[in-house]
């Protein structure tokens, strides 16, 4: 029984076995932080495999679920001085009028596997609903996806409504989707533009510090 085995079980998406092994490791006195650090590295590797399509979406999702299950077991064992490395809360959705959700789903997944807490509002989401949800969960980021030039104005509206409500400073607005660009992000005053899901987590960490 070792961290190495746990790492393999999580990567393979074996949820129940991962949970059992995590419990055993804790009982033997393994430092919870060490488990979490190790699993973070595992998920980085799994993320890379998926980025190259050496594994497919269902596999990385299973790995993510196994990871979440282990984190839920390990978290209560952390000493009060140890902090779980949460990178922030994100509200994400595809904007109103737009049914394209695949890219958004992948971004959500990559953020979750990288230690963000994500609330998914699905697709065809009204600009005001992004803000409502962000307020409700105390989000750090609002992520808006648009796949059509005809729905890109809804990304701008999120930012305009945030200003109208005096909330602009409270959230970092991140945008993406095939027709969007850095130029568009600058024009509407978004905090961040990401071309793909792979770079989203790192870039979001960079702007939150």
């Amino acid at each position: 029984m070792s961290l190495k085995q746990l790492s393999k079980l999580v990567a393979d998406g074996e949820k129940e076995e991962s949970e059992a092994l995590a419990r055993e490791l804790l009982a033997q006195g393994t430092d919870p932080i060490e488990i979490l650090d190790d699993l973070t590295r595992t998920m980085d590797r799994v993320g890379e495999l998926f980025a190259n399509l050496d594994i497919f979406l269902p596999e990385i999702i299973l790995a993510g679920e196994a990871l979440t299950a282990v984190v839920d077991i390990v978290k209560p064992k952390l000493k009060s001085t140890q902090r779980l490395p949460s990178k922030g809360k994100v509200v994400i959705g595809t904007v109103k009028g737009d049914l394209h959700e695949i890219g958004k789903n992948i971004v959500k997944l990559m953020l979750e596997t990288n230690g963000f807490e994500v609330k998914d509002l699905c697709y065809d989401v009204d600009p005001l609903d992004f803000i409502k949800a962000a307020e409700e969960i105390g989000a750090d980021f609002i992520g808006a996806s648009s796949l059509m030039t005809t729905t890109m104005p809804r990304q701008q509206e999120i930012i305009e409504f945030l200003k109208d409500k005096g909330l602009r400073g409270k959230y970092k607005v991140v945008i993406g989707g095939a027709p969007t660009t850095q130029i568009w992000a600058d024009k509407i005053g978004a905090d961040l533009y990401c071309e793909d899901a792979n770079c989203a987590a790192d870039k979001m960490v960079a702007i939150s510090t």
Partner: protein
């Protein structure tokens, strides 16, 4: 009616079917069922053979697609319920579906017939740039495509602006844009002397209201034309989509079901894509009453389907449907490279070759990962369609087509991730005359000659 039957029953079932959370539908129902079926039916991708000649596997893929559709059903994201059908209903729908339809009007009407594997009958060829275009280029591009001699059907580029206003989904500007879209198509078809050409229209309609606004036999989309209804990837629908199906059926035009299973996504790899393509044809037939299915499987990272992992799925799904049904279905090419690159010509040719020999009809060609405005021209579609006609006329066998496909793949496959974006329409076409520039034409001719040297006997 086409095969649109039981519209009311489908509406009812989408409200009364079994409930499941949307988040659970794909990971807990769709993907595990698909994986089990791939194992049960022993379906195996072989990268060495992008175009296999394995009849027994084709038949197993058909059965797996049938089982997938029946066992999983289609999820309505508005009602949070699954629309399910029985084996008996699938059999009935397949029996009732006709193997041929007259489409288009008057002297321009065409008979669109089911094809077999290695059929000597040329494919029905729908030309489509699959892309958005600047407003001032729209009419010219419509004309350029409608000039194509082998065109059987036409789907026009999409407008982002109309009368100088940005089109916004679901709003009045969209209605305006949709009307402009069909006007430009009709005007170009009339000017070119083929006013009754079969249209698939209008792509500018993102909302159901936009589609419904252009149904008119006098000035709009006619009952002799077709319209698309998308299926959400994978196996999902929504009321805004069912609204279209019901409207198309009641208006009386031909319905096409648009589906794009994703390699690397919920379907997994090549095997999953092949099975899902078959299942999607049944979905189109039963849920939407579609007279044809328009399939664009694509690679999650590249947004293309001209590399071997996707060509294999296209080949196998085509053969599965050709051998086991009398349905009509188009193979929609998605290329990595952009216009006026040799790579785009080769990608299109290879896609058309594999599809045609496997029993598909053609829908060519989305270029540049289907992503960039103005980046498509009729020339790549022309070459693809000419390859389709050539290999059908020759009655080319799968083994020979596989050899040629491997030669074509060798010219571009390594560049899938890094392909050039090429040029925009106005850089390689004379916009006023709607004709290719000499340089563009020469490149097309050169690649066509090289392909002829590989063993494709073009009729002209």
């Amino acid at each position: 009616m086409t095969t649109a039957y039981r519209v009311w029953e489908m509406m009812e079932r989408s409200k009364t079917g079994p409930h499941i959370e949307e988040d659970d539908f794909l990971p807990k129902l769709f993907t595990p069922t698909l994986k089990k079926l791939i194992t049960k039916y022993e379906i195996k991708f072989d990268p060495e053979t992008p175009l296999p000649s394995d009849d027994a596997m084709a038949d197993r893929i058909w059965q797996a697609g049938w089982d997938l559709f029946r066992k999983v059903g289609i999820y309505n994201t508005d009602s949070h319920r699954i629309i399910q059908v029985s084996d008996e209903e699938i059999k009935e729908a397949l029996y009732v579906a006709k193997d041929r339809y007259w489409v288009g009007a008057g002297k321009d009407a065409k008979l669109w017939k089911h094809r077999q594997v290695e059929d000597t009958e040329p494919p029905f060829c729908i030309y489509s740039p699959d892309i958005t275009v600047d407003e001032h280029l729209h009419h010219s591009m419509c004309a350029a495509y409608l000039k194509e001699p082998l065109l059987d059907g036409f789907c026009a580029p999409i407008l982002e602006n109309a009368v100088g206003q940005l089109i916004e989904s679901g709003g009045p500007t969209e209605i305006n844009g949709c009307i402009q879209h069909i006007y430009n198509m009709r005007a170009a078809a009339r000017q070119l002397g083929r006013p009754g050409t079969f249209f698939v229209a209008v792509g500018t309609a993102e909302h159901d209201s936009g589609q419904i606004a252009v149904s008119d036999n006098e000035w709009g989309v006619r009952t002799t034309d077709s319209r698309l209804v998308g299926t959400l990837t994978e196996f999902k629908t929504a009321n805004t989509l069912l609204n279209r199906s019901v409207h198309y059926a009641q208006y009386g035009c031909y319905t096409g079901n648009l589906t794009g299973p994703i390699y690397g996504g919920w379907c997994g790899g090549s095997e999953g894509i092949a099975v899902t393509l078959v299942a999607y044809s049944l979905n189109g037939l039963l849920i939407h009453g579609a007279m044809f299915n328009q399939h664009f499987p694509f690679h999650l990272n590249w947004g293309s389907n001209t590399t071997r992992e996707l060509l294999w799925s296209i080949a196998m799904a085509g053969q599965a449907m050709a051998r086991n049904s009398k349905l009509l279905y188009t193979s929609n090419g998605f290329a990595n490279a952009g216009p006026m690159t040799e790579m785009l010509f080769y990608e299109t040719a290879c896609h058309a070759l594999v599809s045609t020999v496997s029993g598909w009809h053609l829908w060519e060609m989305a270029s540049t990962r289907n992503k960039y405005r103005n980046r498509a021209t009729p020339m790549e579609a022309r070459l693809g369609v000419e390859v389709g006609h050539a290999v059908a006329n020759m009655g080319m066998k799968r083994e020979q087509a596989n050899e040629i496909a491997l030669k074509m793949l060798a010219t571009y496959e390594d560049e899938a991730a890094t392909a050039s974006k090429g040029k925009e329409y106005q850089e390689c076409y004379d916009v006023q005359k709607a004709l290719p520039t000499p340089e563009h034409y020469d490149m097309y001719r050169r690649v066509k000659d090289e392909i002829a040297d590989m063993g494709v006997e073009f009729p002209f």
